[in-house]
C-alpha cells in the first residue's frame, strides 16, 4: 500500500461564512479522518518527530493507539507529559516543531501530528471519562505560582501530581493568560481552555484570581508571611510596545493586547450585553506579522470591518505567524501589504484618518540572519484607514521584578533563570515562559514549566530533609 503524500485536509468553516462569526474555524478530524491520518505514520524506530517536541510527547506511541482505535490510550500517553493537549493541538506551530522532523516531510507532507493530538484531546473531553484524582497531601510544602498562562499552568499541574500544595495567583479575573485574553475564540474556544483548567482544579490546584503580585502581595510576602515554600514566576510578556511615531495617541489606535483583551476576555463583541465597548472602524490597518497580528486582523474582520490590512515590513517569507493562520487570514480576505513600514498615523478631529507608510526592500542580512528591510526613498503613501492596531511585540511586565528583592533581570527586563531548572538568582524562586525568554510559544512556556516543576520538587524535598 502506498502512503498518500498529503495530510488529510482539516474540515473547516467556509471562509465567507466564518469571517462573520466567532465560531471555531477548524472543525477537527472525524474518527474516519483521524484513523486514516494515523495510518500514514511509519512508526519509525528513531522517531525523529520527537526531537522537535519541546515536551517530548511519545508521538509514534499515541498515533499507534489512535490507529488501533484506542483514543483513550492515546490521550493518556499525551497527558503523561502535556497538561494542555487540546490547546497545543490547536495553537502549536507544528510546522516548526514535531512535523518539521517527520520523515514524511522530506518527500511530501508530514503526518498531521497536531491535528491528531487535538482529535485525541477533544474526544477525551467530549466523552468525559474518569475525573483525575487529587493526590495533594495536606502537609505537603506549598508553592505559589504567579501567572496562569501555559507556563504557570504546567508547573501547577506537575507539582500537584507530585502531591504538593499549589496556589496559582492571577492578576486578571480569569485564569489562562494569553490563552484567555489573547488568542481568539475562533482559533481556541475558551471552553477548551476552561476544561483543561478544570482538570487542574480536580488535581487539587487552587486558583486565586484578582491577585496582582507586586501589589496585592509581593513575592517576598508570599514566602515570608503567607507560608509558601517556593515560588514560580510565569507572568509572561504582557507589556505592549508602541512604535513611537507621530499620531500614536489618536483615538482609534490600539495595541493588539488591548484590542484582543476587550474582545476575548471582556467579550466586547457582545456589547452592550457585556459591559465593555470596542471601536472597530470600517478600514483597519494591523501593523506586524506574527500570530498576534493575524489574530487582531481576523478579529477586526469578524467585528465588522470592511477592509483589513496587515502592514509588515519584511516579505511574506519572513512572516513569523503560524502557516495555518496566514493561510486562513488570506482566505478570509485580509489584505497583506508586505515590505511596508508605517511612518505616521494621520488624524482628523482627534481620530485616526490614515496610516502613512513607506515601501521597503530587503538589504543585507542583520544580526538575526534575516535580510534587513531598508526604505525605498520617495515611496511613501497613505493607507485610508480609521483604526490602527499595533502588534509589533511585547516586553516583560516589570511589576514583579521591581518589587522582588534580590532577583536579577537582564537588560531587557526579563528574569534571569537557569535554562535547565528555571532557578532565578533568588533562592526558592523559579521562573519560566515568556517572562524569561521574551515572547515565544505556548509549548516552550509549558516546557519551561515542566523543567521548573522537577527542579522545584527537588528543591522542596531537599528543604524538608533539612
Amino acid at each position: 500500500m502506498s502512503i498518500s503524500l498529503k495530510k488529510h485536509p482539516m474540515p473547516e468553516q467556509d471562509p465567507k461564512v466564518r469571517a462573520g462569526n466567532f465560531e471555531e474555524v477548524a472543525l477537527g478530524y472525524t474518527a474516519e479522518l483521524a484513523t486514516a491520518e494515523a495510518a500514514r505514520c511509519l512508526q519509525c524506530k528513531a522517531a525523529p518527530c520527537r526531537q522537535g517536541c519541546p515536551v517530548e510527547i511519545d508521538i509514534p506511541a499515541f498515533i499507534a493507539q489512535l490507529k488501533e482505535g484506542d483514543p483513550a490510550g492515546a490521550i493518556r500517553t499525551i497527558q503523561q507529559v502535556n497538561s494542555l493537549p487540546a490547546v497545543c493541538g490547536r495553537v502549536c506551530p507544528q510546522e516548526d516543531q514535531c512535523e518539521k522532523y517527520c520523515v514524511l516531510a522530506k518527500k511530501g507532507e508530514a503526518v498531521a501530528i497536531g491535528r491528531l493530538e487535538r482529535y485525541a484531546a477533544d474526544l477525551a473531553r467530549e466523552q468525559g471519562g474518569e475525573d483525575p484524582v487529587s493526590v495533594v497531601r495536606e502537609d505537603a510544602p506549598k508553592v505559589a505560582v504567579i501567572g496562569s498562562g501555559p507556563a504557570g499552568l504546567s508547573v501547577a499541574g506537575d507539582l500537584a501530581k507530585k502531591g504538593f500544595r499549589v496556589t496559582v495567583f492571577e492578576a486578571l479575573h480569569l485564569p489562562g493568560g494569553v490563552l484567555m485574553y489573547g488568542i481568539p475564540q475562533f482559533r481556541l474556544p475558551k471552553e477548551v481552555v476552561q476544561a483543561e483548567i478544570d482538570v487542574l482544579r480536580k488535581l487539587g490546584v487552587q486558583f486565586e484570581v484578582n491577585a496582582v503580585i507586586g501589589r496585592t502581595f509581593t513575592v517576598d510576602e508570599l514566602l515570608e508571611e503567607e507560608g509558601f515554600d517556593a515560588a514560580f514566576i510565569g507572568t509572561g510578556a504582557g507589556l505592549p510596545y508602541f512604535m513611537g511615531i507621530e499620531g500614536e495617541n489618536l483615538n482609534g489606535v490600539y495595541s493588539a493586547n488591548e484590542f484582543l483583551t476587550r474582545c476575548n476576555l471582556m467579550k466586547a463583541y457582545q456589547f452592550p450585553t457585556s459591559g465593555t465597548p470596542i471601536h472597530v472602524g470600517e478600514k483597519v490597518a494591523v501593523v506586524g506579522g506574527g500570530n498576534v497580528a493575524m489574530d487582531a486582523a481576523r478579529t477586526a474582520l469578524r467585528l465588522g470591518a470592511e477592509k483589513v490590512y496587515i502592514v509588515y515590513r519584511r516579505s511574506d517569507k519572513e512572516l513569523p505567524a503560524r502557516l495555518e493562520e496566514i493561510h486562513h487570514a488570506k482566505e478570509e480576505g485580509i489584505d497583506f501589504q508586505f515590505l511596508t513600514a508605517p511612518l505616521a498615523v494621520e488624524g482628523k478631529d482627534g481620530w485616526v484618518s490614515g496610516l502613512t507608510c513607506i515601501r521597503m526592500e530587503l538589504g543585507e542580512p542583520d544580526d538575526s540572519g534575516r535580510r534587513r528591510p531598508v526604505e525605498v526613498p520617495g515611496s511613501d503613501f497613505t493607507l485610508d484607514v480609521d483604526t490602527v492596531i499595533i502588534a509589533i511585540g511585547q516586553g516583560p511586565n516589570p511589576l514583579v521584578q521591581s518589587t522582588t528583592k534580590g532577583m536579577e533581570t537582564n537588560r531587557k527586563g526579563n528574569i534571569v533563570a537557569d535554562e535547565q531548572t528555571g532557578a532565578t538568582t533568588k533562592p526558592g524562586v523559579f521562573a519560566g515562559g515568556d517572562i524569561v525568554t521574551g515572547a515565544a510559544t505556548v509549548i516552550l512556556a509549558m516546557g519551561a514549566g515542566k523543567k521548573a516543576a522537577v527542579a522545584i520538587a527537588d528543591y522542596l524535598n531537599e528543604k524538608t530533609k533539612k
Binding site: 492578576a171 486578571l172 479575573h173 485574553y181 484570581v209 484578582n210 491577585a211 496582582v212 501589589r215 496585592t216 502581595f217 504582557g238 507589556l239 505592549p240 508602541f242 513611537g244 500614536e248 495617541n249 489618536l250 483615538n251 490600539y254 495595541s255 493586547n257 488591548e258 483583551t261 476587550r262 471582556m266 467579550k267 457582545q270 456589547f271 452592550p272 450585553t273 457585556s274 459591559g275 465593555t276 465597548p277 471601536h279 482627534g350 511586565n397 516589570p398 511589576l399
Partner: protein, 281 residues
Amino acid sequence: MYEILVKKELAPSVKLFEVAAPQIARKAQAGQFVILRVDAEGERVPLTIADFNRETGSITIIFQEVGASTKLLGQLEVGDALHDFVGPLGQPTHVENFGTVVCVGGGIGIAPVYPIARAMKEAGNKVISIIGARSKDILIYEEEMASVSDELIITTDDGTKGRKALVTEPLKELLDGSAPVNLVVAIGPVIMMKFVAETTRPYGVHTVASLNPIMVDGTGMCGGCRVAVGKENKFACVDGPEFDAHLVDFDNLMARQRMYKRQEKDHSDHCEGGSCKCQSH
C-alpha cells in the same frame, strides 16, 4: 466575594461604599486605586481608594454614576457583593514633609484627594485644601477634608457655598501670598487639573495631578491607559496615576477619554429604553 458593608449617598448620583477586601486594605496607600466588576459580564471599572481601614479590612470607594457600569454599581445595597475587586493598583503618592502642601479637589475628585491630604498632614506638612464643586448639593467630604487640613477653602461655581469661584482663584492668591507653597496636588475633572497646572506653572511650584484615562487591565498589559507626559508615553496604571502636571498633555487625555462616548450613550439609551437584557434592572 467582596461584600458591601456600608452604603451612603453623599450627593445626588454620588455614592460611597465600604467594601470588604482585607487583602487590599492591608496594603492600600494614598494615591492608589482598585478595579472592580459588578457582575460576570461587567466592565472593569477603576476607582480611587478614598479610604481604607486595616482593622476592619475594608476599602472605601466613592463614585459618580456617569454611565451604565457606575449606575449599575449604584444599585447595589449593603450585603450585596461585587464580582471582582482587585488592587491596590498604581503607585502610592510620594509623601514626605515638603513644608506647605495645597490639596485641590474638584467634584468627585475631592474623595481621592482626602487620603493624600491626610497622609501629607501625618507627615508633618501644613495642609491647605481647596475643594470645589458646581453647587452646594454636590459638594462632598467637607468635614473629612476639614479634619485633615490646617485651612479649608470651599468654592462653588454658583456661589451656593463658600466662594463663588473656580478652585484656581484661591490657589493663585495662595501662590501670590507671602507664605511659600512647596507642593500642589490636584485631582478632579481633567479640565480643572489642566488649569491648576497652568496656574502654578509660572510660579515653578511642583504640581502633581492624578490622571484617570480609560483603563482595561490596570496591570500594564493593554497600553490603553497611555498618557503623554513630557516627551514620553506613560502607562497611568503602573507608572501613575500621579504625574508631574506641568508635563502632562491634558488635551490628549481629554480626547482619549471621549473614545467610547457614542457607544456609552447608545448603551445607556438601550438600558433606559427598558429593552436591556444586559443587567438585572
